[in-house]
Every structure is written in structure tokens, then in C-alpha cells.
Symmetry: C2
Subunit: 330 residues, 2 copies
């Protein structure tokens, strides 16, 4: 019997996944144990620019959801996709990239919903499980006296976004740069920044390591360090002291900020979409060096979030990306 477009796509997808949970009104999962459930969307014109390769949209969608599971110390297991697109969207290109990325992360695409829409809107729900001997991490786990740690650099993705706004593009695996960033000393940092923005790398292994520690809170940085640090403090009912000189950044990145007229500290504090973990650990417990973490401050009693530069102390406002107010000063 003749299959129409949606059924044809689903039939192709089921051949591509092999035996799977796809095809019923709901996926049936045999008791998977304790669950962490996360949900994140990627919308054209909001989270990425129109014209982004569908394969990159798929990889980015998976990466931002995996980052949420990393912040929970969960093992990624199942993904459910709601994909709304204009009719001419190259679905198979999107799905090939998504399935490859899922396989790489040990994730099964187990269900979802396809529909038409004026712009590309993709939402992924992910189910992760609690590993044996691990605990789920929470934003409420920071305690006064804990050291405050960061899983990597911040501000790079925001600089990548600035470059994209000025014409940079990811074409296949190649980054095409605007004239301002083509100079040989800038180009490597610029390419890395664009890649970091389009294809963030979730810190799953670090998350699982944190889940094996007895104490500590965590979240993943999506809306900027300042804003997300405020969230961590609010959930844990604590304050924090942040030492921005500890937010190491490469000289190339600093020069690039200068050329593009951006304040490095502003990007680091408010840039957003860094997708590294912000976490706390008792003094004396340090993450393995291989994770490249930086100790950037400490958790204190109270509610204040303070920026400490040398002898200068100032209150850090919860600025950063806000979907309803756009850039907001606190």
C-alpha cells in the first residue's frame, strides 16, 4: 500500500535505527530505574541562525540536552524528538546526524512527533538513569565552605555568536570567517569560538565523576555564568564569591575580543551557551586534572553573590540571557 510522506519518513527512520521503540503511540520502556528527565528546544532564529546545516542543528540539539544530563550525573539512555519544520526541510540529513550522535552517546531515539511549522523548531526530551553507586546532582547541593569550580572556559561561545552575527558560518566541518577575524593570529581562536557556539561539548564524564562524590551542587551553564551562579545560590540558599581572574582565557581569545569590540569579562560573566558545568566541592576534593576544571571562587553563607577583583569587592548582578527580557541588566 502507498505510504504518504510522514509514514515514509518514519519507515525509513525505523530501518535506520534497527529494532527500536519507534512506531507506537507511546514508547514502552521496561522499568529503567531512577530517572533524570530533561527537555530542551532549539528554535531557528532564537537558538541558531536560519541556514544552519540540519546536521549541525541535530548535533547541537543532542549536545545541549546531554549537557543537562551531565549536570545531573545521569547516564543518557533514551531520546524523544518533536520536530516541526517547513515541508522542504531535509529530514533525512537531520536524522542521519542525530542517529549517529545518539549512537556515540549510547542513546536510543525512542519516539517523538513530526509536524509542519513555518520555522524549524526541535525539542528533545532525554531520559537518563542513575549509575550504580552514583547520586543525581542538584542545584541545591552547594554548601558554605565549598569551593566553586568551573568545568572549562566561558565566553568563547558568546564570541562565536558575535562572529556568526558578523558573517561567520560553519560549512560542513569548515568555519568560514568574516574579514575582521581572518588575520592569521586570530583565525584559530575565531574558528574555535564558532565551533564552540554551534557544537558545544557536553561534560558527561565530569558529571558522572561528580555524581560519585559525596557532596556538592552542580548545573550546566546555558544562560551565562552570572545568571546561572545566582540560580545555583538561590536553590542552595547560599552566597558565593567569584574571582574572575581565575576564569582563564587564551591570549588569542582576548585579542579577538578586542578586535570585535567586546569586553572579555562581560562575555565571560554574561555570554551564555558555554555548556560547561558549574559545581561545588568540599575543600580538599579536586576533580582529576584531565577535565581541565578551574577553581573560581567559593560558596559562603548568606545570599550575596560577590565579584572579587584584587581588593575590590562588588555585587554581581544576575545578568545574562533571558528569553523574555532578552539582555537584562540586573
Amino acid at each position: 500500500m502507498a505510504l504518504t510522506g510522514e509514514d515514509r519518513l518514519l519507515a525509513w527512520l525505523r530501518r535506520a535505527t534497527g529494532p527500536s521503540h519507534l512506531g507506537d503511540d507511546a514508547a514502552h520502556l521496561e522499568s529503567p530505574g531512577d530517572l533524570a528527565v530533561t527537555m530542551d528546544s532549539q528554535i531557528e532564529g532564537v537558538h541558531f541562525f536560519a541556514g544552519l546545516d540540519p546536521a549541525s542543528i541535530a548535533r547541537r540539539l543532542l549536545a545541549v540536552n546531554l549537557s543537562d544530563l551531565a549536570a545531573t550525573a545521569a547516564v543518557p539512555r533514551f531520546a524523544f524528538l518533536a520536530l516541526s519544520t517547513p515541508r522542504e526541510f531535509p529530514h533525512r540529513r537531520f536524522f542521519r546526524a542525530l542517529l549517529t550522535a545518539c549512537r556515540g552517546a549510547g542513546v536510543e531515539l525512542a519516539g517523538g512527533d513530526l509536524s509542519s511549522a513555518p520555522v524549524v523548531a526541535a525539542t528533545l526530551t532525554m531520559l537518563g538513569t542513575r549509575p550504580r553507586g552514583g547520586r543525581f546532582l542538584s542545584r541545591a547541593g552547594a554548601r558554605p565552605g565549598h569551593a566553586l569550580w568551573l568545568g572549562g572556559t566561558v565566553g568563547e561561545a558568546a564570541l562565536g555568536l558575535t562572529l556568526i552575527e558578523r558573517g561567520a558560518r560553519l560549512s560542513g566541518n569548515r568555519v568560514v570567517l568574516p574579514p575582521a577575524a581572518q588575520e592569521a593570529t586570530l583565525a584559530p581562536s575565531a574558528r574555535a569560538a564558532v565551533r564552540r557556539h554551534v557544537l558545544p561539548v557536553p561534560q558527561l564524564e565530569l558529571g558522572l565523576w561528580l555524581g560519585r562524590q559525596r557532596e556538592g551542587g552542580a548545573l550546566d551553564l546555558s544562560d551565562g555564568l552570572a545568571r546561572d551562579l545566582h540560580r545555583l545560590c538561590r536553590e542552595s540558599k547560599v552566597g558565593a564569591e567569584l574571582r574572575p581572574e581565575a576564569l582563564a582565557a587564551s591570549p588569542g581569545w582576548r585579542r579577538l575580543c578586542e578586535v570585535l569590540g567586546k569586553s572579555p569579562l562581560e562575555l565571560q560573566l554574561c555570554g551564555g551557551e558555554d555548556y560547561v558545568l558549574l559545581f561545588t566541592l568540599p575543600l580538599g576534593v579536586e576533580p582529576p586534572v584531565k577535565f581541565g576544571c578551574r577553581r573560581i571562587g567559593r560558596i559562603v553563607a548568606g545570599k550575596e553573590v560577590t565579584l572579587i577583583e584584587g581588593r575590590k569587592r562588588r555585587k554581581l548582578a544576575p545578568r545574562g540571557w533571558d528569553h523574555f527580557n532578552l539582555r537584562v541588566s540586573g
Copy 2:
């Protein structure tokens, strides 16, 4: 400390839900047992018309997802919402209606994602559990010799959509009709059709009853009887014979079809968005009368789906709603 828009909304929402799983990167659910997971989107201009009351969007979103769980015989437990809207969207109105509807269905809103977008796009992921002594239903459970059943009428929602296209609106709980349907003998059927389209009623209790039977396949009708019957047959590797005279419809509905220039049979077979269950049962097993089910045919060996009108037999094409081809003739 000052909260920005998104955090303020989330804080309000957490006050409104009471103790809940909201607030972390991922919701942590203690081992809920066997799971059924479903995901369905509602997009402005695709699933509903611009201007629909946000409270109705919320109720419809929950209803179509509950209908998927009904088709699986799962007990609804947790909902996760991805909501993308223009900035001026009245979020609290939407959430008040969603939370009330969730409470009514025994569902906890346990997480999600908020973002901005040019049109309203809402995706719900729902987790349901397998009730003790029940089984999950599947589209693959139909067997030759089973009777084919329908959980209610079909075509009414499609007629409601026709009325909406011609100016009908749901305003609060009141249906405003276009002149063509205001005549006293037509108005009650017209109002019911509009309500049925905007606010379908998921057949959860029927689904749970079916899950307690030993045999039978099921799915919920969202894309039209013809198309969804083909899907049931494909997954079960069977054929079917459908007797359209068994698709009972009220005289008021038939007159309304006439006035609006619609073929009753066409609407019943291809209309879509009926959200009643289509299911099969061994001969001799009948659903309780209170569910208002109709026996509309039988499952046969082979692959053919046949329409039987008196002595006339014709092949039924898998027509109906397709998101990529729009209305497709098979």
C-alpha cells in the same frame, strides 16, 4: 536579588505547583516502573488557529498527549513542557489552565523548557506507568478474527475545524458560530463540533479497560480513520474490513455536513483529530456499554484494507492528514 522574566515566571510556577520536581537541569524521578513515553506538539497555525485562548491551547496540548497514553493503557504520571512563545504571551493564563488540567488527570508537571519564538509552539512529553495487572497496548496487537472497534464518533472534529475556518470561535466556554451554522436546528451540533475540535476528550478509562484484556491492538485516531487504520494494520501485519454504516452519526451532524458542503463519509474516513481509540478485541469480548464504542468491522489475514458498503467492496486508501504532503489521496 532581582529576578529576571524567565526566573520570575519559574518562581511563580513553583509556588503554583507546590513541592515538585521543577527547578533542576533535569527532574529526578524515583524508579517509576515500566514506562510509556509520549510526545506531542501543538503549533500555532498548524494545530490551532492564531488567537486561540492560551488556556485552550494548554488543555488541548494535555488532551492530545493523554490520548496517546490512553491508546497505550498507561496511567498518566509526569508531564514535561517545552513552550516557545512571542514575548507578550500570557504565560500565567496558559500555566493556570495546564496545572488545573494536570491535577484533574493526576499528572505532575515535572519540568521543561521556556523560550521565545515567533509563533506559539508547545510540546509536551508525558510519562505514564503500567497499572498492576495491566499490559501496555500496541498497534501491533491486532489479529485476524478480531473485531474492529471505535471508541466514539469520527468526523466531528473535522467538521469543527471547517466551522473554525469559516469563523467559529471558542470564547471562554462559549462557542461563537458563523451565520451558516446559527440556525436553531444546526447550532447544537455545530457547537459540539467546535468544542470537540478545540478540546478533545482522551479515552483514558477505556484504554485502561483494554489494557486489562488479554488480546487486542489499539491506537488513537489523530490523522483520520483511514490513515490510522492502515497504520494499525501495517504494524500488526493484517488486513481489515470496515463497514462505514456502523460509523453512527447524529442527524444534526449529517445536516450540518450538507449545509457546509462536506461529504459525511469523507469527513469520517479522512477527517482527523478525532482522538478516540481504534482497537481490536477477540470475538465475544465487548467493551462496557458506558464507553459508547461501536463495532465497525473486522481484522482479516493479508494486507488489504477494504470498505464494505452493502454488497460493494472497495479498497480503502490511506488518506488523511499528512504533515508533509497535506491532504494526500492514496
